[in-house]
């Protein structure tokens, strides 16, 4: 607030008569009229009142005052130099901390419509991440993972995995793959996420090699035995429930087939 307004009395509401100094008499304290630099009256003085209180009352008041001051100190004083409550560290969700790296394809040219693709799964930060589902896209492929899902990767470590991909339906596959990806389900103690890891030229070239090997001869006449598979992918993320066992999203696979 700025500006100076009328001064209001803090003591008795009665008007105060100024005391004029008379020649030869200095204006001293006066019982009925306060000195001119005092607004209102607060006599008797607090110290006198305090001394007149019984010891028990004084002790109670002191205890209450100390308690109140301690509480006020906790409330008013900033716990950190910046004046903010310490913020809890951000809780990383699994897709933020997990990386998939393509490391190459196994050299097994006689394997027909099947190839083994190698990846490295690492978690760079935060709580352990469980990989509970891996599926190769696009549709028309069957995926088997070794080691089988689910497996858990801790921060600072990396797991080598092999994803065996088998072409099951040439009719559902594109002619070429541009940015092929793995659809995975990741889980840590904060969230479960369905996520895609997209790979560049090397995986694109190797996967296209498999598609051409498996489908070039049959693309014009897809096998009637192979059922056309139409997949609808949805992206979802859900916070982990307090009791993970209550989650309906647990997708661990005992067979290792994703």
């Amino acid at each position: 607030m700025s500006g100076v307004g009328p001064v209001e009395p803090v003591g008795p509401a009665e008007p105060v008569e100024p005391v004029e100094a008379r020649p030869g008499h200095a204006p001293g304290p006066h019982r009925d009229a306060p000195p001119p630099d005092v607004i209102g009256s607060d006599s008797p003085r607090p110290s006198d009142r305090w001394r007149r209180l019984p010891p028990r009352v004084r002790a109670t008041a002191l205890t209450a005052a100390v308690t109140a001051l301690a509480a006020a100190a906790l409330w008013l004083l900033p716990p950190t130099p910046s004046g903010h409550k310490p913020q809890e560290p951000a809780q990383p969700w699994p897709a933020v901390t997990t990386a998939f790296r393509y490391t190459g394809v196994a050299d097994n040219p006689g394997a027909g419509p099947t190839r083994d693709f190698h990846f490295e799964v690492s978690v760079h930060d935060g709580p352990p991440v469980t990989v509970s589902h891996i599926n190769a896209a696009p549709g028309g492929l069957r995926t088997r993972t070794t080691p089988p899902t689910s497996f858990t990767v801790r921060a600072g470590s990396a797991h080598r995995i092999t994803v065996r991909i088998t072409v099951t339906d040439c009719g559902a596959l594109p002619v070429n793959v541009n940015l092929p990806f793995l659809d995975v389900t990741l889980r840590n103690k904060h969230a479960i996420q369905h996520y895609s890891f997209i790979f560049g030229n090397r995986y694109s070239r190797d996967l296209s090699g498999l598609l051409h090997t498996a489908c070039d001869a049959t693309r014009a006449l897809p096998s009637p035995r192979v059922r056309r598979e139409v997949r609808v992918l949805t992206m979802w993320t859900r916070r982990v429930l307090a009791n993970p066992a209550e989650s309906d999203l647990h997708t661990s696979s005992s067979t290792g087939t994703s």
Partner: protein, 407 residues
């Protein structure tokens, strides 16, 4: 007696509380303005703040403002007070160039966040490079801005002062093409673009990915920015028997195109890039936008635990604009500049070659931002290459697929 005791107790508590309040106030000023005067450093912002694209442009300005407020509050760079100077480029390249010159000529400006549009960026890069002033765009996606005109055959970085926190259309266009062909099972697409650097480039990359997968482009056409009547285009699209329309451009035109398309009886989805990913698109197109799709860079900011504090502050400050598209990336871009300044400006003293040193420091950036890890590769591109496909569902953008490019 009880009354007297209460009076005394109240007096004691009041005195104590006032004393502590005074102590708290002094503590809050530690490292602040008390005593010595701080050096003022300006973080420039260039974006469309009025007219076309302004919803996303204001989101950029807001994201930078929150970052600067945070830096000042936390005294992130001792001896420095940061301020934001936001200039409106109206999504016009020439305006962007004028703004770049204005920012370069102000010695207090040690870094710039922006612009929104790739086409505007092409006219600003040289100005910043000449003055060694660092520029980080939270939203430019044209690959040539960082990798040169011949980026598909030989990548060459054209400007060492230019960085970006958004990934490129090379990924966005391919990601969209893959989703359209393999997930939506669309085989015949009609491709439209707005002839701008961003829109035409994105449409071209989508087309390449879609045809490579085996899809067919059954028609193409162009629009002009600012067009409002698309009746002739709607007729062409209907006659093409396309099962999908891909649009390379901004929401300003596509929100009208989709409405006229659906009202004209073509019940096929319209798919676009991050320039279309704005709440304004849904608000304008209304129910006709239902089922339409857009890719955008990054993950949905609302799902990022690291972004919750940013969103809270953005909303609490009452900032305008759409923080959901680039607000988080703008915060991270501004923070990267502020951290770089902190490594160069000590005790408020700005060295004569500060701008050049800040460019070098930005290149070494590595921290966890609100939208994910922040770091740049040798071209000035972000190493955080996340993409999301959104679909309009019940009147809102809903993330339907999210992924990270691992190279």
């Amino acid at each position: 007696m009880r009354h007297r005791s209460l009076v005394i107790l109240t007096s004691v508590l009041t005195t104590g509380a006032l004393t502590l309040t005074a102590c708290g106030s002094r503590d809050n000023n530690k490292g602040g303005d008390s005593g010595s005067k701080k050096t003022e450093v300006i973080i420039g912002v260039d974006a469309p703040l009025t007219g076309q694209n302004s919803a996303t442009g204001l989101g950029i300005q807001g994201g930078v403002q929150v970052a600067v407020d945070d830096a000042n509050k936390k005294n992130l760079v001792p001896g420095v007070t940061f301020k934001v100077q936001a200039l409106d480029d109206k999504a016009i390249p020439a305006s962007g160039q004028q703004n770049a010159t204005q920012l370069v000529n102000n010695d207090k400006v040690l870094g710039v966040v922006g612009p929104l549009n790739s086409g505007v960026a092409t006219q600003m890069q040289q100005v910043f490079a000449t003055a060694n002033l660092v520029e980080i765009s939270p939203s430019n996606t044209a690959p040539e801005l960082t990798q040169g005109k011949n980026w598909q055959t030989k990548k060459v970085r054209p400007f060492k002062t230019y960085f970006r926190t958004a990934t490129t259309d090379a990924l966005q266009g391919g990601f969209a093409a893959d989703y359209a062909y393999n997930t939506l099972k669309k085989k015949n697409v009609f491709v439209v673009d707005d002839k701008q650097t961003y829109g035409a480039g994105l449409a071209k990359l989508f087309t390449a990915g879609f045809t490579k997968a085996g899809g067919k482009v059954v028609g193409t056409d162009h629009v002009n920015t600012g067009d409002t009547d698309f009746s002739a285009l709607v007729t062409k699209i209907k006659n093409s028997k396309a099962d999908l329309v891909y649009y390379g451009g901004q929401y300003d035109e596509s929100e009208k195109l989709t409405k006229q398309l659906k009202d004209g009886g073509a019940k096929i989805p319209l798919f676009g890039g991050d320039g279309m990913f704005s709440d304004t698109y849904i608000q304008t197109a209304g129910k006709t936008s239902e089922g339409d799709l857009a890719t955008s860079v990054g993950q949905p900011v609302d799902t990022l635990a690291s972004a919750q504090d940013f969103i809270k502050k953005y909303k609490a400050a009452g900032l305008k604009g759409d923080y959901g598209t680039y607000g988080g990336y703008s915060y991270d871009a501004a923070t990267a500049i502020i951290k770089a300044i902190g490594n160069v400006v000590k005790d408020g003293k700005v060295p004569s070659d500060a701008r050049a040193k800040i460019v070098d420091e930005v290149g070494k950036t590595k921290f966890n931002g609100v939208a994910g890890p922040v770091a740049f590769d040798q071209y000035g591109d972000t190493t955080n290459k996340q993409l999301t496909v959104y679909q309009v569902t019940n009147g809102k953008w809903k993330a339907v697929k999210s992924g990270t490019f691992n190279g």
